[in-house]
């Protein structure tokens, strides 16, 4: 191909695709991420899109973005700022220009940078470069729409379909810049449009034409190479996002327990994809019930759990609010249940498509009465699998509802994942009551876990009644006795606390003592990790303590906290975990770093904050 162009080798690159919400940017970004992963890079992605399906064309409100970070080393975040921005219209450029590294490359669709395009996006002038101060950037005006039309004029496709293919032209351009092979994406076309050969050919052609266009124009003076990641552990890999990993982890728990999986759920952004994934899996016997509302979602799950299925319900913040009363019923009846809350920006409807960690207090306390519940949080897209599995294991073995927190960022973000083998996962042995058990007492408990037995209807000799009224300590019949109520409140709390004996000790990344302990939980792991590593590389005495087990917490927390001069709790809310720690470990002082902008942390802002703390500012 183009021999004059120089090839530079880079360790890592961040590319951001942006356009109208109908421009197919999510697909374009996903294809680029998949191609990079299949090529052998480590990858992290960040879809960032509006809640409108199709906002008015060309406006700021309708801009949809997808960021891909790939590298030859371990990649922990989707990257703060991008090296290359693709902007399909002036609105996309206006929204995203601030996320491009100084001097970075910006590829825009010149066909939309006309009077109408500028006006719709609310520019004051007709010169985006000057107005947005992009003089120091390599801005390439490529007529993507007209070249796509030219490329496909003989394809036989209608005009609308041709214009819709412009995202593949843009993808071809980016593939050339980073020397990506086209075959993974071509294979995708063959599978996706198996019944429409003309669409396969059209997509392949426009992708290649975009690739060739980039190799021919002088504006793209050099191309880049990002080597395969050699530091990743050996093994078989696949790409996975958090919601799929969650769905599969729940299925893994059902398989290990030898029970059918039942999911009662109501569609809600950004949790719906878990229900969608489970609905596909009838091949593994999964039963999904799309309920009439959030309350029916959890109540069908509670009924299914009573009848002996491993039952789950999936939701996001507003849905969790609706489920509150039913959570209390699950606590009272002491039935296994996993509730997945994929957190989004709140309060109320809030920011449905944006990430936040502000449901923590609701997860811990959002019920009437003394209603303690196990709460755990996943921290990366792929470990959603492990924590969904663990949520199931704890729920079934300890006979308790377990609330699993993820968030929009890890739920939609994806990364390569070394495929585990189910034989490496622990057994799940729920305390199932055998039929004909002599003297069966519904609320008798095992000493180790304080869990009651799980007695399925249909089994002879163990008929019993459960319900939301306070239970007799052993028989489970209704009891209004004052002392009995105290005992039951105590034992339910003790049962949840007992889970502490069955979870791993808290780990510290970095030295076990130092000047500053960075504390986080859930989906902020990647950013906190990178920030801490960056500071450690500069000799700073900073370590990271990142939590997955929120209630109960691991045993060794106070010991860890005591070995640092300062502690800062970083979270995407106004301090909910910090207050949880203040309540549980009152002997320590906690600094806070909080952000509620619907966006993940950036590593840059974290490092700046940590330096300020170390300097005593």
């Amino acid at each position: 191909m183009d021999k004059q162009k120089s090839v530079q080798e880079l360790d890592e690159v961040v590319v951001r695709f942006s356009g109208d919400s109908g421009d197919g940017m999510q697909l374009t970004g996903t294809l680029f991420a998949d191609a990079s992963a299949l090529f052998g890079n480590d990858v992290s992605t960040f879809p960032d899109y509006p809640s409108e399906i199709r906002a008015p064309q060309g406006t700021i409100g309708g801009v949809s973005g997808f960021q891909v970070h790939f590298g030859s080393q371990k990649v922990n975040t989707p990257g703060d700022y991008c090296d290359v921005l693709v902007a399909m219209n002036p609105a996309a450029l206006k929204v995203n220009a601030k996320w491009v590294k100084r001097g970075g490359m910006i590829i825009v669709d010149a066909d939309h940078f006309n009077e109408k395009g500028y006006q719709r996006a609310g520019y004051k002038t007709f010169d985006a470069v000057a107005e947005l101060n992009l003089q120091d950037y390599k801005v390439i005006f490529a007529p993507i729409t007209s070249l796509t039309k030219e490329s496909l004029k003989d394809s036989g496709l209608d005009n609308k379909s041709i214009i819709r293919s412009k995202n593949m032209f843009a993808l071809g351009v980016v593939y050339h810049i980073f020397g990506r092979p086209l075959n993974f994406t071509e294979k995708f076309f063959e599978k996706k449009f198996a019944k429409k050969p003309e669409v396969i050919e059209a997509n392949k052609k426009v992708l290649r034409d975009g690739y060739n266009y980039a190799s021919n124009i002088q504006a793209i003076a050099s191309t880049y190479k990002v080597m395969q990641a050699s530091t990743l552990p050996k093994g078989k890999y696949r790409n996975i996002n958090g919601n799929t990993a969650t769905a599969w982890g729940l299925m893994a728990a059902a398989e290990k327990a030898g029970l059918p999986l039942f999911c009662g759920s109501y569609p809600i952004t950004p949790a719906t994809d878990i229900l969608i994934e489970l609905a596909k899996r009838k091949d593994l016997g999964v039963k999904t019930l799309q309920a009439e509302d959030e309350i029916a979602g959890i109540c069908t799950a509670i009924g299914a759990s009573y009848a002996g299925n491993f039952a789950v319900t999936t939701t996001s913040g507003p849905g969790l609010s609706l489920k509150s009363e039913s959570l209390g019923l699950a606590v009272m009846t002491e039935l296994p249940l996993v509730i997945v809350d994929v957190q989004r920006g709140g309060p109320s409807t809030g920011l449905p498509t944006k990430t936040e960690q502000s449901d923590l207090m609701q997860a811990l306390w959002g019920r009437n009465g003394e209603a303690p519940m196990v709460v755990i949080a996943a921290s990366t897209p792929s470990n959603c699998f492990d924590f969904a599995f663990m949520a199931g294991k704890i729920a079934m073995e300890h006979m308790t509802p377990v609330l699993l927190l993820t968030d929009g960022y890890i739920a939609n973000g994806s990364e390569p994942w070394r495929i585990p083998s189910m034989k490496d996962y622990p057994d799940i042995k729920p305390p199932i009551v055998p039929k004909g058990t002599e003297g069966y007492m519904p609320y008798a408990r095992d000493e180790k876990r304080l869990a009651r037995g799980w007695a399925f209807p249909g089994k002879k000799g163990i008929a019993h009644r459960v319900g939301g009224l306070e239970k007799d300590f052993l028989k489970g019949t209704v009891s209004h006795d004052p002392i009995n109520h105290q005992r039951m409140v105590d034992i339910r709390a003790a049962k949840v606390q007992r889970v502490q004996e069955f979870i791993p000790e808290q780990q510290v990344i970095g030295d076990a003592e130092g000047d500053l302990l960075v504390i986080g939980w859930g989906g902020t792991y990647g950013h906190l990790y990178d920030a801490v590593q960056e500071m450690r590389a500069k000799g700073k005495k900073v370590s990271l303590c990142h939590f997955n087990y929120i209630n109960p917490m691991p045993k060794n927390v106070a010991d860890i906290f005591s070995r640092f001069r300062k502690r800062v709790v970083c979270e995407l809310n106004m301090g909910q975990f910090a207050n949880h720690l203040r309540m549980n470990y009152q002997q320590f002082n906690y600094l806070q770093y909080n952000k509620v902008q619907g966006l993940p942390f950036t590593v840059v802002e974290l490092v700046e904050k940590f330096n300020q703390i170390l300097e005593g500012k």
């Binding site: 299949l38 993974f184 093994g235 039942f262 009662g264 019930l289 009924g303 039929k435």
Partner: protein, 337 residues
């Protein structure tokens, strides 16, 4: 499967008010269950009684089967989960007019629409009893209660109309005082595959005493109710001389032998007719213009939700390539490092 009513009686003390209609309904259930067990070959452990909140919802504690006393309005959803999880169970739901039609209205219509195979016993006393006397969604317009001291200003639901409107396939009605009829329709409900709704007109002796005296009183009961049985003429009255005919598009009460009407003119009850038109009219009949219809008003076959769920899973599993989570994890695009 030879059981007696005693086998289904739990050891719990029944705590409804003396004179409450629920006692009679409990007796009807205890009478029906041995017969259901015999005819359908069900063991005792196959029964699950689910309930919500309200006086009626204490019911599961009083039957010696598996039971789940849920939360207000949600019994329908809980029962749905039980049945989908294990379709072999015989699932019974006990609820009231507040539980099923106010706070639980949404779940009720969706259960009916899905046609999940559960039996819903809806005790309708037209009042909130457990909270001591507020009006319910079935209290008649103008009813004076603690929360409507000047009379209600809202129109009540007619449960039969609601159920049939939600594409209900089985609807029956009985009186608490008629234990024999109640047990009879319960048996029919149990035999019906799909959502069976049985409304039992029940007297709240404390907060709405005598609400149904106009039809339960022995003196005029026969003249004011009609017991419908599939395939039989729609006849009622002490002297069995009154009947229903179709006049234009409406039902009409006639006296046989008067006005030229003979037995041949009287309608024959067809509970199996999929067309809900006549069933809706029968369910909506109100005294004094009409007798109140009792018995099985509608009983139509259709596929059930729980069967459909199970069949779809089995169908997909038959030809599935993915047979374990390991298969799934290794499916699709993968690569070696």
């Amino acid at each position: 499967m030879n059981y007696t009513p005693q086998d289904f009686k739990s050891d719990q003390e029944v705590r409804w008010c003396p004179g409450c209609g629920n006692h009679a309904i409990l007796n009807a259930v205890l009478k029906a269950l041995p017969e259901v067990s015999k005819q359908l070959k069900y063991n005792l452990e196959r029964y699950v009684f689910v309930s919500g909140i309200g006086c009626s919802s204490r019911f599961p504690y009083y039957v010696n089967t598996f039971g789940f006393h849920g939360i207000h309005g949600r019994a329908t959803a809980i029962a749905t989960g039980v049945k989908v999880a294990n379709p072999n169970l015989s699932v019974w739901l006990v609820t009231g007019d507040g539980d099923a039609l106010a706070i639980g209205g949404n779940h009720l219509i969706h259960a009916v629409r899905r046609n999940i195979d559960i039996n819903i016993l809806l005790f309708n006393n037209q009042i909130y009893g457990l909270t001591k006397g507020q009006y319910s969604p079935t209290s008649p317009l103008g009813a004076i209660t603690k929360t409507s001291p000047f009379g209600t200003v809202e129109h009540p639901f007619r449960p039969g109309e609601l159920v049939i409107g939600a594409q209900g396939k089985f609807f029956a009605r009985s009186l608490d005082v008629d234990v024999k009829l109640t047990a009879e329709v319960m048996l029919e409900a149990a035999k019906h595959d799909g959502t069976s709704v049985v409304v039992i007109l029940q007297n709240c002796v404390i907060f709405n005493d005598g609400a149904y005296n106009y039809i339960t009183d022995r003196e005029y009961r026969d003249d004011r109710v009609i017991v419908l049985r599939h395939g039989e003429k729609m006849i009622f009255g002490k002297n069995r001389d009154k009947g229903l005919i179709l006049s234009g598009l409406s039902l009409k009460v006639v006296t046989i032998g008067q006005g030229g009407f003979t037995m041949d003119d009287i309608l024959v009850h067809d509970a199996y007719n999929p067309n809900p038109g006549i069933h809706m009219m029968l369910a909506n009949m109100e005294y004094p213009d009409f007798p109140v219809a009792l018995g099985v008003i509608r009983n139509v076959k259709d596929s059930t939700y729980d069967d459909n769920v199970r069949d779809q899973v089995l169908e997909v599993m038959k030809t599935a390539k993915i047979k374990s989570v390991d298969d799934l994890l290794n499916s699709g695009d993968t690569w070696e490092v």
